[in-house]
Amino acid sequence: MQLSREELIHAYRQMRTIRAFEDRVHEEFAAGNIPGFVHLYAGEEASAVGFCMHLTDVDRIASTHRGHGHCIAKGCDVKAMMAEIFGKKDGLCGGKGGSMHIADLEKGMMGANGIVGGGPPLICGAALTAKTLGTGGVAIAFVGDGGSNQGTTLESYNLAKVWNLPAIFVIEDNGYAESTASSWSVAGSQVGRAAGFGMPGYEVDGHDFFAVHEVAREVIDRARKGGGPSLVHVRFTRYYGHFEGDAMTYRGKDEVPRIAAERDCLKLFRQRVVEAALLEPETLDAIDREVVAYIDRVTNEAKAAPMPTEADLLTDVYVSYH
């Protein structure tokens, strides 16, 4: 199905925003301005955006430790996200969560997650809510290739199928879990596992936004119509280290530059829409400039923003406790 001009612009802007966000976080981390464990999504943008473009706030997603892209794609406030990563009081989570725990339940974003495999069970719950309340919503768990082996993930396949939930499992296979190759750690295949649990399974090139978007439409439609869960195996690469600070010595020489040159999702998108005369290079250039300026602004604001204070330390442990 053809995307409208607005949709194309939206998709490109979202992917570009994620990229610019991650590039900037990378710089700020390297400069010593951001503390903690930070995992960047650069290179993987087509997945978050390709799926989330089909969703509204009634639909829920659960993310991973590598969550910035999913957050942005699901509509989290980018400025508040940046403030969160800097640990500021007006961060999306008041500075209490940080990069690994950005969430916005109102937007249907159930949280980045520090626990590999933490999301799939939660997404079964969100899908159950949708089914029980008849909201028509779906729920998507994004899971890494490493996370695809975790028992919590595999159990969730079974539960989603047995309960016939509107749940979708997106295995974001960037080739590595930390320094361990997915070709080694994942026995069998993702699509084969889906079949083993009686679910439709798809493999898709994650550099190709249009391919992702198309598969996403199909599995989301199926789930919305009561057709149950599906699994999508998205393949691509990550550009930065596992976490910021990782020297990536385990990677092949030129592995990243080659993929970035030949298969970058933003480049491929641009090529496709320009060749097909769907968008003009100037339109895309303008988005690029706007986005970079925007990220620059929110970063500067985040840096200038105040820290939380002692008064915040013990709030929100419970709704109420006595």
């Binding site: 969430a103 949280g111 997650n113 939660l122 969100a126 029980t132 969730s156 539960l159 709704v319 406790y321």
Partner: protein, 337 residues
């Protein structure tokens, strides 16, 4: 007032809350039973029949049997709670928490804090605990000290049928994650239980006996044992105050400290292992806060630092018994300093 068993009281609380609020759902292994099987539907109602009859009343959409995948379904309950339902999930035996604790302590318990107050996770996890069933090491543990240790969780231990109904209704209406510990040896015990719904607020201890000589702080099934001891000693004119703390988190420190100060002699009874236990938690509290009022060292009565043995001969020696509680009470009374 009508007499009901602990089992019936729990069943009634669930039924009434499900009637009141369509967002309340149940899930767990065989909470109804008979899924996909040719014989009776609702065949089990849990292994000890606690949820029996709820599925026929509310349907399979609100009483969900699950595969044996505690991470997936406890996590699903957590995820459902965070998105608008009020699930009551059954972790059949608390001993199984080791296959699913992440969804409880890293997810449910921390969402609200990590997300800056923007999340609400009103999930209840009902679970069986305790020794005395000849169920051996992996089906007899207490483990509530572990849940109590975790900020973000609330932990309730009803000591009889009346408590069970009121605390469970509170748990379901509570906006925070609650772990609800049911002692497997108490399901057939009866108490007077009103027919209408009522709540027992969390963090408010209950004085089940009052006396001037010694304070026994207890929880769960141990409250009954403490009551037995108090009744026995009353005949000897020894006055025992028994504090049923009802919830280990939040803990009603005020009532504990008040009664401890009054008697100056305190025994804490906890069915769990001694190390980093509720017994040590309360003993430390009392020793610190009632320092000048204490006439004797606080005494802890707990299970030993050992797994629960199978053999009835050993299990009976293992459990903190009324006799051990009585001995401890006499010991603190006899202390002369």
């Amino acid at each position: 007032m009508p007499k009901k068993t602990y089992r019936q009281a729990i069943n009634e609380a669930l039924r009434q809350e499900m009637e009141r609020d369509p967002r309340v759902i149940l899930m767990g292994e065989d909470v109804a039973g008979g899924m996909g099987s040719p014989g009776e539907d609702d065949a089990w109602g849990g292994p000890l029949g606690v949820t029996k009859g709820l599925m026929p009343r509310f349907g399979r959409e609100r009483v969900l049997d699950t595969p044996i995948t505690e991470s997936a379904f406890i996590g699903a309950a957590v995820g459902a709670a965070a998105t608008g339902l009020r699930p009551v999930a059954e972790l059949m035996f608390v001993d199984f928490f080791g296959v699913c604790f992440d969804q409880i302590f890293n997810q449910a318990a921390k969402f609200r804090y990590m997300f800056g107050g923007k999340a609400k996770t009103p999930v209840v996890i009902r679970t069986m605990y305790g020794a005395g069933f000849r169920a051996a090491s992996q089906h007899s543990q207490c483990l509530y000290p572990i849940f109590t240790h975790i900020p973000g969780l609330k932990v309730a231990l009803p000591s009889n049928a009346y408590e069970a109904k009121g605390l469970l209704i509170q748990a379901i209406r509570d906006d925070d994650p609650v772990i609800f510990f049911e002692h497997k040896a108490m399901y057939d015990e009866e108490a007077e239980v009103p027919d209408e719904p009522y709540v027992i607020p969390f963090g408010e201890a209950n004085l089940t006996r009052e006396g001037d000589d010694v304070t026994v702080v207890a929880m769960g099934r141990m409250v009954n044992f403490a009551n037995q001891v108090a009744d026995k000693l009353a005949k000897e004119k020894i006055g025992v105050t028994v504090v049923d703390i009802r919830t280990t988190s939040p803990l009603d420190t005020e009532t504990i400290l008040e009664t401890a100060s009054e008697t100056g002699r305190v025994v804490v009874v906890d069915e769990s292992h001694p190390r980093c236990s509720m017994a040590s938690d309360i003993a430390a509290l009392v020793a610190q806060e009632c320092f000048s009022d204490l006439k004797a060292p606080v005494k802890m009565v707990t299970a030993p630092h050992a797994p629960v043995p199978f053999s009835p001969a050993l299990e009976d020696l293992y459990i903190p018994s009324p006799a051990k509680i009585e001995a401890a009470v006499r010991e603190v009374l006899a202390f002369k300093g």
